[in-house]
Symmetry: C2
Subunit: 458 residues, 2 copies
Amino acid sequence: MAQKPSIPKGTRDFNPEQVAKRNYIFNTIRNAFETFGFQPIETPSFENSETLMGKYGDEGDRLIFKILNSGDYLSKANAEAYETKDSNKLTTSISEKALRYDLTVPFARYVVQHQNEIEFPFKRYQIQPVWRADRPQKGRFREFYQCDADVVGSGSLWQEVEFIQLYDKVFSKLNLEGVTIKINNRKILSGIAEVIGASDKLIDFTVALDKLDKIGEAKVKQEMLDKGIPQTGIDKLQPLFSISGDFESQIADLKTILSSSEEGQKGIAELEFINNAISELGLNTAKLQLDVTLARGLNYYTGAIFEVSAPESVKMGSIGGGGRYDDLTGIFGMPNMSGVGISFGLDRIYLVLEELVLFPETVSKNVEVLFINFGEKEALFSLKAIKQLRAQDVNAELYPDDAKMKKQMTYANRRNIPFVVLVGESEIGANHYTLKNMVSGSQEKVSLDTLISTIKKS
Amino acid sequence: MAQKPSIPKGTRDFNPEQVAKRNYIFNTIRNAFETFGFQPIETPSFENSETLMGKYGDEGDRLIFKILNSGDYLSKANAEAYETKDSNKLTTSISEKALRYDLTVPFARYVVQHQNEIEFPFKRYQIQPVWRADRPQKGRFREFYQCDADVVGSGSLWQEVEFIQLYDKVFSKLNLEGVTIKINNRKILSGIAEVIGASDKLIDFTVALDKLDKIGEAKVKQEMLDKGIPQTGIDKLQPLFSISGDFESQIADLKTILSSSEEGQKGIAELEFINNAISELGLNTAKLQLDVTLARGLNYYTGAIFEVSAPESVKMGSIGGGGRYDDLTGIFGMPNMSGVGISFGLDRIYLVLEELVLFPETVSKNVEVLFINFGEKEALFSLKAIKQLRAQDVNAELYPDDAKMKKQMTYANRRNIPFVVLVGESEIGANHYTLKNMVSGSQEKVSLDTLISTIKKS
């Protein structure tokens, strides 16, 4: 292979600094998940194809990476599909496994498969990569991590309250202040659909309404008419065009607008419960906002819907989302298990923290001290000290070769190693170490104890 | 889907306890890697097929999982292979990506691709899953983690010394005492091959010699003759049949046996250097043993070879291995980069720790306190306390539903939650909490401060 090697499009290598920064976010999320009582599970990277296929719609099916069967896979190829060269039809006969597309369907499969070992309500978290054969673009990858927390087996609205607290906790811990947790409820959307008199126009309605700030009421209404929403429906929803202000006043408006919809009233009551509890409990740095245009995963969620926006100063899509789905495990033959969960978007959170310079300086645990290698005897003397340093959890290394001093110092500089130790014959004789501070340039002869304590407290 | 869902053979779900135990091992290894100055990188789960194919031999190529191209993949199918239904030949035209088979080839690819950003010598570690379409059996999986540390860009034998210390450190930290780090050198094997006069018989020779303890000298020699090793070669190696004792005496024997082989003498000198340094530096709990029958990865390694055995009381294959390969990156067009590395076998280490009951009891960070849910008002009062507990890093949860007391207590018991808090109207009135110790059964009324401190110090 003569040309420089590369990686598949939409995938990434992570260098040491990037790994450290990603782990900082993962660990923050993981710790928060655990203080909230969530327990980790892991599932295989690939599932049987029938576990995944048909769960994400036709578009999802296309985006699932399929794994070719091993051995003489053509011997079991579907003859008709082979004859007609029908890729789509042939797939199931030459591929039995597929890469995980998200963490929710594997979680549902896990719950059903292990139902007899699980105590319900089951609060699980899962931080693993997923794969999608999507067209790669800025911020969208073919391999990326999801960080999910879900509860299954309880319809209690306290869960929704806790998930809002959990979002607040994670983003506060990351020093990312000013995120907005937007909330809506699928039942309110159903109420709106009832009032419009056309539930199939619900998405068109919310998409248009969402543009109110940008294009104004008249143009929004025109778009609704163009999409086939009847004038009578738009009239009935007139108060939605002026809905604004805080959570409570929006709730008051909704009560009027959706007075005729029992489902809508249910959704309002749920939101009210959640908002009251959050008001009592308080949030650290996030704010909770009711957004009746929020309509993510419409066919999926049945109750609360969440979406988190980065602080307004940063241009970025949602950095988290989730909601309630009343029948999580029905697809695998275990009905009536209500679930609710949220997800954190690792890659976007990373970009936001980078843009706002919020990664702590200490995030990557670099080598703290390099011992210069002056030859065999000196190296052995150095390794004895290094052994003591490492026993004290100091990251220490010996330059492996007795290369020119300048080369070794350049290596220390380029790797931003803060301390360098020089051990020559005189140091061995006196049983001490010359410690050089690479930032200040100062240099002193110290005992092993002082060496260790100086590096440890720096 | 009516039947209970399942996962592909050779893959595993991990429940919360298993995840916690695996993370305990990962974290121990990761911390040791970092104190030794290794830095983490991560590479994509799948690579371009040409990066992987041809690097692991024919058998390896067969065991690599291939990913089917997306869309109408048959439109680019190799016409001739399609005509003749040649699975093997067809693959490259319908599959461009493949799952990572190990971490070494992706590391070599990474080094070449990012050579201008890397400071050499480059000490990297990588802890990620790999996939092999192997026949699953006890302890062998199709998805499993590798934990690798490698240095590239230095031929210094100090690296070998440090890797032995690193093995010792990790297994000592895991309280797994009495592991044996077996070492050999490819150059000694070359010397033996020279003396036999048939380098293609080297594996047959070492395989037979390895059985000396079990079947005795006569049968070993017969097996060698049967494999076509000449009597003259066996005679010359006669001293090998009685080689034994400590490292130093084996070295002395080898010096005689391999006196005619320059390559063999080089290998002996390397081993001697390593053994002398380790004798000076000392090991905590592991022992270093010279094993001239150790011949892993014969076509791959060029210098030192390592393999770690579990303590003798446990029946288990090697729990780690590695070695020196003089030309790591040559396959990607960057010659003369010497590399040396070791790997830890997570799954086997897990089984050994389980068998010897060496996992710390505190390894899984369980929920520490459950608040019983007596209704809306009580739950809200509880959540205020829970918020404080979580801020102090206590894992706390509220039972989500105001179910029957007995059901909630059963949940706490089954999940081994050590404390339960009961908050009723009287507790709210008095602003205190009834704290029940689930182990002792004792119960007391406490303030929030006492509640937090009692749980924290338990």
